[in-house]
């Protein structure tokens, strides 16, 4: 005696595989959600008290990174410029600009501007700018094309896999030290070879592995030890 119609077999199969697929999909969706800009803020411009444009100041005018981020070569923290730095120029130009009112107010009252942090690592991660600069990691390797950002956003996800991507294979991102602050630096390729220390490089990995030696990078095992970043 057949209780169920034969079609129920199909329904049963479909629901079993469907359930598996659904679980898989939910897991995949969760992972994608974790990596989405909604969580990581990647490529999401943050609200700021003054709509400061890196595109204008870096790209158009050509101000060096270190003019404002003064401690980037000496300290873990790159430094956010004091109001005084803004006023070096803006006490002379754009005196009436309304969008600069908070800057002038800050300078007049002595109360700091309160910026929203853009590249915000979790508090249990201890990143050091100076050593990355020192070993030939360019600013835009992590921060992206800052000279083309009208409003500042973070380029990477700032998640651990993103850090490890480079820490596991530093050669693919290193560049000569004198190019670190060059926002338009391009990695060597056959179309655009790079002359460095009397050698012509057409391949990033070749340059990178030479730089790893020249800059005495610690081994991959060293720089992927937990205490490199966590303490």
């Amino acid at each position: 005696m057949q209780i169920f119609h034969r079609a129920t077999n199909t329904i049963a199969k479909a629901s079993i595989y469907g359930a598996l697929l659904l679980v898989g999909f939910i897991l995949w969706a969760c992972i994608q959600f974790q990596r989405s800009p909604y969580v990581t803020y990647a490529h999401v411009a943050r609200p700021q008290p003054v709509p400061f444009s890196h595109e204008h100041h870096v790209g158009a005018i050509g101000i060096d990174c270190r003019y404002c981020h003064t401690s980037v070569e000496n300290s873990n923290f790159a430094g956010i410029p004091p109001t005084k730095t803004c006023m070096n120029c803006h006490s002379q130009i754009w005196l009436g600009a309304g969008m600069l009112q908070p800057v002038r107010d800050s300078y007049a009252t002595g109360k700091s501007l309160v910026w929203n942090r853009v590249d915000d690592l979790p508090d249990f991660v201890y990143f050091d700018h100076s050593i990355h600069i020192n070993k030939g990691v360019g600013c835009n390797t992590c921060h992206g094309p800052v000279d083309r950002m009208p409003l500042m956003y973070n380029e990477g996800s700032l998640q651990m896999e993103w850090c490890l991507d480079c820490h596991r294979s530093p050669a693919k991102n290193l560049r000569p030290r004198d190019q670190v602050f060059n926002m338009r630096y391009e990695q060597p390729s056959t179309q655009k070879p790079l002359l460095y220390e009397g050698k012509i490089y057409t391949d990033q990995m070749a340059l990178g592995s030479d730089l790893v030696k020249q800059y005495h990078l610690r081994t991959v095992a060293d720089i992927t030890s937990c205490s490199t970043c966590h303490r």
Partner: protein, 1013 residues
């Protein structure tokens, strides 16, 4: 159901064997008699090897630590579980909140955000300076270090100065000027005080009295003089409950003038302490003495010998080669026998001083040894011994020709060296006579700590205007018309002298958090110059002292260095008066003696609200958050009391109920109580902790007296002592945890300690291959010979690594968080055991048992040999600590870190994670310092991998005795590599094949062969 059952009964009883001493003394004695207990023991339970102790030793945490014992209702439990389940998967989905960056408007010069600056300043206790370097992150002081350029610090600190940074940020500090119970202001006080001062002008200030603690500040002394010139009738009194009156009077007795005694222990072959605790914080010159003493304890180069004669066990006594426990009143007679010199003659002393046979034997050996080392020996009298003992010590040192070699006399360090008790008595007499109209108290708390017989409270109420100036609104502030909130030393300008006379300038590290005022500010107002700031006053004083034209340079140099050059006192020639050393008759040996001692943690009560100090296990008993009465084992047996029983201690009419702590090595028929507890208005940490024993203390007998009555009363009290916690199982008795030998044995068999590490039995690449190719391989040695058990490393570590305090109840459950602990081991007779200190941080095992069992890889090995701990990965299974034979891992059973109080946010080390609930933590060899060092050295491109000069862990840096050495064991000429080659070097529980990177140097004793026989 189980929860309910647990709620029903008092749970504390089960926590650990120490809590409810099922093992009473009789059964302990029986057990000790029948079993041969371990050679080294930490508690009487361990000595007896009771079953409870065995169980505890095999547990990861003491019983109760890992169970939910706090009362929770059934509904609450269900709610909690439901919520946890619902939230379990959600924790990873948190979006990071937006964070602000607040830059300067105008950035100060020299400031690099992310790089700390160090400023020299000094902490003062009882008038004696501890010279410091204070780490400042964007002008927030975070960590105290010793000033290594200053002769009185040499880089070391003491627990009080180390913990003072927490005191500065204490949210319970007084934040307002208070008038008649209401919040007022400094301006209103200035307006108000003009009237009363005007009223005093007619009588030239005859009704003004000022009471302060002892101070050595030259600028303040100058300001006081100016004030007293303005009001010649006014009087300045000094009183601290823990004072050095005895030393002062002893000097007067011996030399007719008050002089300061300095010791040069680096020149001393034989050191005799007459009840002096000179190797613990609070003794002037402690850091320097600990350094010098430890340096002379090296068995490879001229080891000194140390005899301690003491009335209560101290950490100094632990370091003694021979220790003689005697009652405090007997120390005078013992000192006199050294002076007599009659022991040099074979046979018994000619003058009968009432010594027992054992004491006679001991003192004969001491006397002989001292005579044999004339000119290179030293006798140090204790602060609580009467003047006559100090005078005797001076006479002995003179007799032995030690003066100028190991003992040096100088001018007194205290600006106004008066007998503080007499000064205080004069004040009370004047108050009772109605002569005092205006009483100003600065930094003192006499309503809590005045001698009880002076009836200070009554006299105090009779004074028409009382003004209190202090850090806290304490017991005294409550009864004053005005209270002015004082600025902490880290917030104000000043100057102060160290024990050798060197002046340190005190510069503020931060603007006063609560707009507090220093004594300079207050005196300026009283002197009618309210516009003068503390900075101007101190600078103006030094301008007067400095003759050259380059004052600015001089001032900056002094500020930078932390001391004014060439201000150390030069040795003074003093002629001994022929003193009358007649001893008063020794009191009845049967009468019970009571000793009053400052507490090792809260001192006289002033550090009551400092939670770091409260939770610091006291050097001998390891009790936290409480005081107690110490009773020796023999006396406890007679009284029929056990640890944690309550007893009533009566002296005259006064009586105080106290819990008992049976302290091995305490002299018989004598008890010791500790001052500073039982505060009523200390703050959230100190109020209500412990028992106030000041009601027993009279002006006639501030330090000890006989005639106390001790009787058992009903009830027990929970004392949270960490003594029995984290006990390691040595298993094999031939490899004890503390290794020791006598100097003779060491010389004859330098290899007494030799033990090859187990052979590498592994298919994986060996440890040598893994680590020796690195630039750095971190290692540490701890020299048990040098360690004086001063606890400084614990506080330094706590400060550096943002370690939370947990409170008494949690300590009692064994959930305290200190990353380094100092174990005290005893050996031999309970009534007079030898003792050893052993600091235990994480061993950073190369073959770490903890790493294998972590299911989430939260504890892993770094290539440089660190056993890394990744807090954000930890899910709190606690398998790691379960598998750690050293029991050095600490678990955040609750959210112990204070995440909310704004003051504490400023205090924390920004380079170390503040841990949350459910996370394991442990020593990391200060990995933040290692990383900072490595980055700096890599950037400079150096190829020198010897880190000795520039990299120190927090414990190492603060250690006054240089007991801890840390460095790169891959460099052959680093200090740590050399020490690891020393014959004394051994690894703790090395036979477990953990290959610890932290190793110990065995303790070598230098006993007198005459006494060994």
């Amino acid at each position: 159901m189980k929860m309910e059952e647990q709620n029903g009964k008092p749970h504390q009883e089960e926590v650990c064997p120490g809590k409810k001493d099922k093992l009473n003394l009789e059964s302990a004695n029986a057990l000790i008699a029948e079993t041969k207990g371990p050679e080294f023991w930490r508690s009487l339970e361990e000595l007896a090897g009771s079953g409870e102790f065995q169980e505890m030793m095999h547990r990861e945490f003491p019983k109760g630590a890992s169970e939910w014992l706090d009362s929770v209702s059934r509904r609450g439990f269900m709610k909690l579980m439901g919520a946890s389940l619902a939230m379990a998967g959600m924790t990873a989905c948190t979006k990071q909140p937006m964070e602000a960056i607040v830059p300067y408007v105008k950035q100060p010069e020299d400031v690099i955000p992310g790089k700390p600056l160090f400023y020299a300043t000094a902490f003062t206790l009882g008038g004696y300076a501890a010279p410091l370097l204070v780490e400042s992150h964007l002008f927030r002081p975070t960590k105290i270090e010793g000033n290594d350029k200053h002769p009185a610090s040499l880089g070391g600190t003491d627990v009080y100065s180390q913990a003072s940074v927490l005191g500065m940020y204490d949210p319970d500090r007084s934040q307002n000027v208070i008038h008649a119970g209401d919040v007022s202001s400094w301006g209103e006080f200035q307006n108000f005080i003009r009237g009363p001062l005007k009223g005093q002008e007619a009588s030239q200030g005859a009704g003004i009295r000022i009471l302060s603690g002892a101070f050595s500040s030259p600028a303040l002394a100058d300001q006081v003089q100016a004030f007293l010139k303005l009001y010649p009738g006014a009087k300045w009194h000094t009183y601290e409950p823990v004072n050095r009156d005895n030393a002062l009077e002893g000097a007067k007795l011996a030399f007719g003038q008050p002089v300061e005694t300095q010791y040069h222990l680096e020149n001393a072959d034989v050191v005799v302490s007459l009840d002096a605790d000179f190797l613990y914080a609070g003794f002037p010159g402690f850091t320097k003495y600990a350094r010098d003493f430890a340096a002379r304890r090296n068995p490879d180069s001229g080891m000194s010998r140390f005899y301690a004669i003491e009335s209560a066990p101290t950490s100094s006594g632990v370091k003694a080669d021979h220790r003689l426990p005697v009652r405090a009143s007997h120390v005078g007679a013992i000192a006199a026998t050294i002076k007599d010199g009659t022991f040099l003659v074979k046979g018994f002393p000619q003058i009968d001083r009432g010594l027992t046979e054992e004491e006679t034997r001991f003192m004969r050996a001491v006397s002989r040894d001292l005579r044999a080392h004339s000119g290179s020996s030293v006798v140090i009298p204790g602060e609580h011994q009467p003047p006559i003992v100090h005078a005797l010590a001076h006479a002995i040192n003179a007799q032995l020709g030690n003066v100028g070699k190991t003992v040096v006399y100088t001018d007194p360090v205290i600006a106004n060296p008066v007998n503080q008790l007499e000064s205080f008595k004069d004040l009370v007499a004047d108050m009772n006579a109605g002569k005092v109209q205006l009483l100003i108290l600065s930094g003192v708390n006499p309503l809590f700590d005045a001698p009880v017989d002076l009836n200070f409270a009554k006299a105090f109420e009779g004074v028409p205007l009382r003004i209190h100036h202090g850090l806290y609104q304490d017991e005294t502030a409550e009864h004053c018309h005005w209270h002015i909130n004082q600025a902490d030393y880290l917030e104000a300008w000043g100057d102060t002298r160290a024990f050798d006379g060197t002046v340190s300038l005190v510069q503020p590290l931060i603007a006063p958090l609560y707009d507090g005022k220093s004594l300079h500010d207050l005196l300026a107002v009283l002197s009618g110059e309210p516009q003068a700031s503390g900075h101007e006053i101190v600078q103006a004083y030094w301008q007067k002292q400095h003759s050259g034209a380059d004052f600015d340079m001089f001032w900056r140099r002094s500020l930078h260095d932390g001391f004014v050059a060439d201000t150390a006192y030069s040795p003074k020639q003093v002629a001994a008066k022929s003193a009358n050393f007649a001893q008063s008759a020794s009191p009845d040996a049967k009468a019970i003696e009571i000793n009053f001692r400052p507490d090792p943690s809260v001192y006289d009560g002033r550090f009551s609200n400092n939670a770091w100090l409260q939770e610091l296990p006291k050097p001998m008993s390891k009790i936290t958050w409480d005081n107690c009465v110490w009773i020796g084992p023999a006396m406890a047996e007679r009284l029929g009391v056990q640890k944690r029983d309550m007893v009533r201690v009566a002296l005259g009419d006064a009586k105080v109920d106290l819990p008992v702590w049976i302290q091995a090595g305490h002299p018989d028929n004598s008890v010791t109580v500790f001052l500073g507890y039982g505060r009523k208005r200390a703050g959230r940490a100190g109020t209500g902790a412990g028992f106030d024993v000041y009601p027993l203390r009279t002006s006639a007998t501030p330090w000890f007296t006989t005639g106390a009555q001790v009787s058992k009363i009903s009830g027990t009290y929970i004392l949270a002592s960490t003594q029995g916690y984290q006990t390691m199982d040595a298993g094999d008795v031939t490899r004890p945890i503390v290794r020791t030998a006598t100097l003779d044995e060491y010389r004859k068999h330098a290899d007494f300690n030799e033990e090859k590490p187990p052979a590498e039995l592994t298919l994986y690449p060996g440890y040598e291959a893994q680590y020796r190719s690195e630039n750095y391989a971190w290692g540490m040695t701890i020299d048990l010979n040098s360690c004086v058990g001063c606890n400084n490393c614990i506080v330094a570590c706590q400060s550096e690594n943002n370690i939370a305090v947990v409170g008494k109840e949690q300590v009692n459950h064994g959930r305290h968080m200190h990353w380094i602990r100092v174990d005290a081991y005893y050996q031999g007779d309970r009534n007079d055991p030898k003792a050893y200190f052993q600091p235990v941080p994480c061993m950073q095992c190369e073959n770490a048992p903890c790493e294998l069992v972590c299911p989430v890889g939260a504890t892993t090995h770094s290539t440089e040999g660190l056993n890394d701990m990744v807090y954000n990965r930890c899910v709190g299974t606690r398998y790691c600590s379960n598998n750690c034979p050293y029991k050095v891992r600490r678990f955040n059973f609750f959210l112990f870190s204070d995440w909310d109080t704004p003051q504490y946010k400023m205090m924390r080390n920004p380079d170390v994670t503040v841990r949350s609930r459910g996370v394991m933590e442990k020593c990391t060899y200060c990995v933040q310092r290692i990383t900072e060092y490595r980055i700096k050295s890599e950037e400079s491109g150096t190829k020198d991998y010897n880190t000795d000069a520039d990299l120190k862990t927090a414990c190492q840096q603060s250690c006054p005795a240089n007991a801890i050495t840390f460095g790169n064991i891959n460099v052959a000429d680093s200090q740590v590599s050399k020490l690891k080659k020393n014959q004394r070097n051994y690894g703790l529980l090395d036979d477990l094949n953990t290959r610890p990177r932290t190793t110990y140097l065995a303790e070598i004793r230098n006993p007198n062969p005459e006494l060994e026989a």
